[in-house]
């Protein structure tokens, strides 16, 4: 167990390094000069060169990467070109808000997805199954920013029940789990939860159907287990794969959604990213992507570490 844990932890290092290389390079591959946004239009060639030197953009890319990585390892992601504020603090504030949104969306999406998946899997090829599957496919297929807008039109504009923008009276820094704040999170969280819910529903449905068609289900009935007793075995068998899918979807939720956070003006990482992209704010962009990618890596690490606890077939040690 210890060896397995250590091995998984060590795997994170090369993956995280690869992720950082890609984060850094992607932004540089994108066309356009990051400094045009902040430079006066009539800047002279000398002024441009001076500015480039100040941000270190005149050095070879590998050198820039090495400097950036060294700083990043010390928690310094540079300063935003647009605002001059440290990227690390901008990102950490946004990450906090995205975590709140992701957590709420998880609470909605995963239990419902697992529940619907079980119902559809148990009643496979019946009307119930078809209804649930149709619902799940719709959830996965509908563009979620469009769904967000529709929900805003219905619940904010027409009915006036829920607010449509922002993170509540505390603004982007002071979130609280009270009614005044929760009202603001309902619409974005529901919108964000729909896709993972659909994916989890379909996965669990397929898994349950598969397990129920296995020989050992007949053997369990043959030894006298009730429907409930058999179901207990199904749950245990379905858990490992469900856990991996939930982990992947959690990574997706932690990454925030640029579109949904933009639609609802939610001050999270997605919102930050879209601003960074439009303002060509290179350090902010790199820092945000890096933090999000690392979240994804860690979500998978946690799933990997939990996996042997629920599936004895995964070799321990």
């Amino acid at each position: 167990m210890l060896a397995y844990t250590l091995q998984r932890l060590l795997y994170v290092i090369p993956v995280a390094f690869g992720v950082s290389v890609i984060c850094f390079m992607l932004v540089h591959i994108a066309p356009g000069d990051p400094l045009t946004a902040v430079m006066p239009i009539d800047a002279t060639a000398e002024q441009q060169a001076a500015m480039r030197a100040e941000y270190g953009f005149d050095r070879p890319l590998p050198v820039q990467f090495a400097i950036w990585l060294t700083n990043a390892l010390q928690g310094d992601l540079g300063a935003s070109i647009a605002t001059g504020r440290p990227v690390a603090s901008e990102v950490s504030r946004a990450v906090g808000n995205t975590l709140i949104l992701a957590f709420t969306a998880s609470l909605i999406g995963f239990p419902l997805g697992i529940f619907f998946g079980f119902v559809a899997g148990i009643f496979k090829d019946t009307l119930i199954d078809r209804a649930v599957t149709a619902f799940a496919i719709t959830g996965v297929s509908v563009p979620n920013y469009w769904l967000g807008i529709v929900l805003v039109v219905i619940f904010s504009v027409t009915l006036g029940w829920l607010p449509s923008m922002g993170a509540g009276p505390g603004g982007s820094t002071n979130w609280a789990w009270d009614y005044e704040h929760l009202r603001f999170i309902i619409l974005p969280a529901v919108t964000l939860a729909v896709v993972p819910m659909g994916i989890v529903t379909r996965t669990v449905r397929a898994l349950v159907g598969d397990i129920l068609s296995q020989d050992f289900i007949g053997a369990l009935k043959a030894k006298g287990l009730s429907r409930f007793g058999v179901l207990r075995h199904v749950v245990r068998n379905v858990t490992p794969t469900t856990l991996s899918v939930v982990g992947l979807q959690l990574g997706y939720l932690l990454g925030g959604s640029i579109l949904i956070e933009t639609v609802f003006n939610w001050p999270g990482t997605g919102f930050l990213l879209s601003n960074a992209i439009f303002q060509r704010d290179l350090p902010l962009l790199q820092g945000t992507i890096l933090v999000l990618a690392l979240f994804f890596v860690f979500a998978n690490l946690i799933v990997d570490l939990l996996q042997p606890l629920v599936d004895p077939r995964i070799k321990r040690g």
Binding site: Q214, D215, F216, G218, A219, L220, K221, A222, K223, G224, L225, S226, G229, H233, R236, N237, P240, V310, D311, P312, R313
Partner: protein, 338 residues
């Protein structure tokens, strides 16, 4: 028929029909009896309905697609009428089953000990501790080496032979009166096959349960059983003691099966096989199902179901060739309207 002890198992006129894209008449009016402690082998090729008969006895066939009729009694329990709680009380306690492929018949994410204990807890309402003690005792009885550590093993950590032993331990944990064995040695290596067969025979003497053993291997049938019933196209064509079937087969199909047997074939001989293939069972047989492949078939074999004749006690043959040689149990009959 006079008998002092009541039968452990009585099957009368069992019919099993599957509905789906096409209808399959899997079992067509099967009669079968078994005395307590008797070991009976049902011998037949794939698709003859052997496994379906076993699954029907535990009502394990998919409910929605299966139509069953006839009568089945085990220990006086009317199996056809069982549902819900009464059915699950009966399964595993009165009748239990071992399966062809133990790797697939055991839950991969539960330990062997847990899986055995679960059955014991279910039927005897004992504590987990007591159930685990029983599981350990059962593993010892099926001669699994170092049973204490095997108790905590998962199925994938055991060999095929060990898994089948664990499956047998599970099936016998609640001391059933009848054990159904669905080709339990087919998936095993030849040497392991013999060990498992010998074990089953010993356990039968120890526990005294009746066994219905399903196989297509005559050698296995001879090794394990007191009686053999030969099955073809969803019905029994011949039944008798092992010696009777082996030394004096009466039905042309049984004869064909014995001739096709490799076990003591002379290497210089050409192997014979039964020409043709089993009939598709999409219509209910209205004449002898074996007639198209039978060298002795007469015109009337294609017109009506064969008579069932009784050449001796506990012996029956469903073939016109026996006519005049043996008393009639059931006369040849026109098919009933389906």
């Amino acid at each position: 028929m006079s008998h002092t002890t009541p039968n452990l198992l009585d099957i009368e006129g069992l019919e099993v029909r599957f509905h789906g894209e096409r209808t399959v008449h899997a079992i067509n009016g099967l009669d079968l009896t078994l005395k307590p402690g008797e070991v009976m082998t049902i011998l037949g090729e794939s698709g003859s309905g052997k496994s379906v008969t076993l699954k029907a006895l535990l009502k394990l066939l998919p409910e929605k697609r299966t139509a069953m009729s006839g009568a089945m009694r085990v220990d006086g329990i009317d199996v056809m009428a069982l549902t819900g709680r009464a059915l699950s009380d009966y399964r595993g306690k009165t009748v239990s089953m071992i399966f062809q492929e133990p790797a697939l018949a055991l839950d991969p994410v539960y330990t062997i000990g847990d899986q055995i204990a679960e059955a014991v807890i279910r039927h005897e309402r004992v504590s987990k501790r007591e159930a685990m003690d029983r599981a350990l005792d059962m593993l010892k009885r099926v001669r699994i080496p170092s049973p204490e550590s095997r108790l905590k093993n998962y199925p994938h950590e055991m060999s095929g032979g060990m898994r089948q032993r664990a499956m047998i331990a599970l099936a016998l944990a609640c001391k059933p009166d009848l054990l159904l064995a669905d080709e339990p040695t087919t998936a095993l290596d030849a040497t392991v096959q013999i060990q498992v067969l010998l074990l089953l025979r010993e356990l039968q003497k120890e526990f005294g349960m009746g066994i219905i053993f399903v196989t297509h291997d005559i050698g296995v049938a001879v090794e394990i059983s007191d009686r053999i019933a030969v099955m073809y196209a969803g019905n029994i064509v011949e039944e008798g003691s092992v010696a009777e079937i082996i030394k004096d087969p009466r039905h042309p199909y049984t004869k064909g099966l014995l001739e096709a047997n490799l076990h003591d074939a002379d290497p210089s001989e050409t192997l014979t096989s039964i020409p043709g293939s089993p009939p598709p069972l999409d219509v209910k047989p209205d004449h002898c199902s074996f007639a198209p492949r039978c060298a002795y078939a007469e015109a009337r074999c294609f017109k009506a179901l064969p008579p069932v004749l009784k050449p001796g006690p506990g012996r029956r043959v469903a073939c016109i060739l026996e006519e005049g040689r043996a008393p009639v149990m059931t006369p040849a009959r026109e098919p009933e309207p389906a």
